[in-house]
Amino acid sequence: MTDTHGHQHEGEHDHPQLGFWRKYVFSTDHKVIGIQYLITAMAMAVIGGTLSLLMRLQLGWPHGSFPFLAKLMPKAFDNLGHMDPGFYLSLVTMHGTIMVFFLFTAVLTGGFGNFLIPLQIGARDMAFPFLNALSYWVFLCSCVVIFSALLVEGGAPLGGWTAYAPLSALPLIDPHQGTGMTLWITAIALFTASGLMGGLNYITTILTMRTKGLSMMRLPLTQWSLLITAVLGLLAFPVLLAAAILLVFDRVGGTSFFIPGGIIMGGKLIEHTGGHPLLWQHLFWFFGHPEVYIVILPAMGIASDILSTFCRKPIFSYKMMVYAMAAISGLSFIVWGHHMFVSGMSPFLGSVFTITTLLIAVPSAVKTFNWLGTVWGARIQFTSAGLFSIGFISLFVSGGLSGIFLGTSAADIQLQDTYFVVAHFHLVMAIAPLFAAYAGLYYWFPKMFGRFMNETAGKIHFWASFVGVYCVFFPMHILGIGGQMRRIYDPLNYNFLQPQQILNEFISMSAFFLAAAQILFLVNFFVSIWSGKRVTENNPWKATTLEWETPCPTGHGNFGPELPVVHRWAFDYSPPDAKEDFLPQTAPAVPAARQH
């Protein structure tokens, strides 16, 4: 029987004393790197979130005047305090870019991936610790570069995070598309390099460094999701890089990859000819669709594991969960055209992509059934982490179902480029992963810092956020049905949109409420690092996975002199034949029938 109430191991891996800088800043320890990613991503979240609040201010009160903001950002507002439309669009662009790449991909894959992979597979560190550290510092560089795009003279780019050509390929078409756009491309290229280094580490580590007894089908779902995501990133990001390379040449080299002949700029025909704007969209979305699964898959893995822990019940149908994730990721490469139904792409291709897109709904549905099956007959412990993992399910269902409308090409004609799309992708790609990330942060905080986050504040955070996200994003479906287009600075410019303006006001007010709840989380997080309740045992949540064999916080080298040996899968919660309501993965196998 394994001692799960372990005390601090003194058998920690012997290590020469490192100075402050090598230990906490330029560390090659995956745990430090993981925390660095998490905190950097949180900073990017604050920036990206602030941008969205400015957007909501404009959308809620399109003719509003904001003298206080005009004083802070004189170039973004006119002298009556009205926001500049170009500035509004650059907010849209940078909000999307920062959130998709520099928050979600970074926090889930970079933060949790780095922290958890060696711990959950029973290794002392990643396969290539130096490369790992390098990936963080390149990521940090990319954050600095993208932030600087907000500060340049012409302003940040205004073509959306999707940067469609030719708008993105013609630097002279608008000051925002000059230096700001160049910095955007540079940041994305750096981010891609960082991601590649990380993915290389993750795949090699998970494949080759699992501890004795840890077969692939005994891995926690978090690990499966991180492995599959790393493979997705490997296959998708380079295509974005290819598109970015061609875009750079169009912008500065005079080439015409994405620029057709016959474009009039400034009243004159420009010299480019021979390119095709849709080529950008195909390349971008070939990357872009797998990217959304790069965001949601680790979220699914983390939420599944945490759900199981706080339901005290094995995840329902673990094998199908793994197969479903693999199916989703494979299919993710053949659905990209559903972003292009009305783009001018061949309608025949449109039919093909409808079929593949609705196909990808099937494994997602399987996963949803399995989450419900996990809660059925559970014994739920309502910790903050547990609440967020439950909330994840509701949000994923809401967001996933609206995708069916958009995947059906005929219905998409009316909904494309409206707020229905905005509602869909926020729920499924931003909010559900956000809830999974919160679950992960509350859950692994003790392991990272040796303290608990404040549970009361955590619960307030959950309830306020859960109500808040539905208040913000559910009405957006209605806005989209009513026809409100995306990326519109002033919906009141259109008569047919005026009757539903009250929804915009409601959403904006809810957004401010939601933001306040996140501030509560940030305060809780940082204050708890220094003065949270101390953790006195290795495994406060009574969880099964290997990281809970280590002290809180885990020390350098992770495990004692002996690496753990695994005898069972990661989901032995409430096993009938044990005294406690869980058996950790290291608990020796029972000779009887139940083998996993």
Partner: protein, 209 residues
């Protein structure tokens, strides 16, 4: 032992988890048929494949448009291709030599491979200059744009490979490569041959415009 015979014996390429951990030094620890460095190199190559897949799919799409205009690929590029192929062959001779414990030959063939690699890159630069002399620049036609971009991106990757070759050559001089363990050479050769294959692919694509 070759990967194929491992596959035949075990039925899978993934080994059972290791019994002895070597602390993440990146070597071929435990009972693995494949070293971490080798796996990592394949992962890197996968990413590079996707990069060139993206670029070449763009090429194929734009090739089909009516405004396409061909350029003549400079003849020296044929010679460059042969030089690159020869450098791969030389690297194979080096691998042969290391398996036979012939360190002098290893160093010799590696050096030849590197010199031929530099020769390829020099030849590519000559090709670019010939194009410029003929008035064919980056933006002249889409075909020329792709010529410069594809050869340029490939050359950058090959340059990286040359740096890697240099590092391995240095290890050879330090007598760090043995018949049993010459992982750095194996990995460098894998990357180098792969760049050769990518080049042939790009070259054919550009020729068959």
């Amino acid at each position: 032992m070759s990967v194929l015979s491992q596959l035949r014996r075990r039925g899978s390429i993934l080994p059972p988890p290791p019994t002895n951990y070597d602390g993440g030094s990146g070597g071929s620890g435990g009972s693995f048929p494949l070293s971490r460095a080798y796996i990592a190199t394949w992962i890197l190559l996968t990413a590079i494949i996707m990069l060139f897949a993206g670029l070449s799919s763009a090429y194929i799409v734009l090739r089909g448009l009516p405004q396409w205009q061909n350029i003549t690929v400079p003849r020296i590029v044929w010679a460059n291709t042969l030089v690159l192929f020869a450098s791969s062959v030389a690297l194979e001779f080096a691998r042969h030599a290391v398996r036979r414990n012939q360190p002098a030959l290893v160093r010799q063939w590696m050096a030849i491979s590197g010199i031929l690699g530099i020769g390829f890159l020099a030849g590519q630069v000559v090709a670019w200059r010939q194009l410029v002399a003929a008035g064919v620049y980056l933006a002249t036609t889409i075909h020329s744009s792709f010529f410069y971009v594809l050869t340029g991106v490939h050359a950058l990757h090959l340059l990286g490979g040359l740096v890697g070759l240099g590092v391995v050559l240095q290890k050879a001089f330090a007598n760090k490569l043995t018949a049993e363990n010459h992982e750095p050479l194996k990995v460098a050769a894998l990357y180098w041959h792969f760049m050769d294959v990518v080049w042939i692919y790009c070259f054919l694509l550009l020729l068959l415009a």
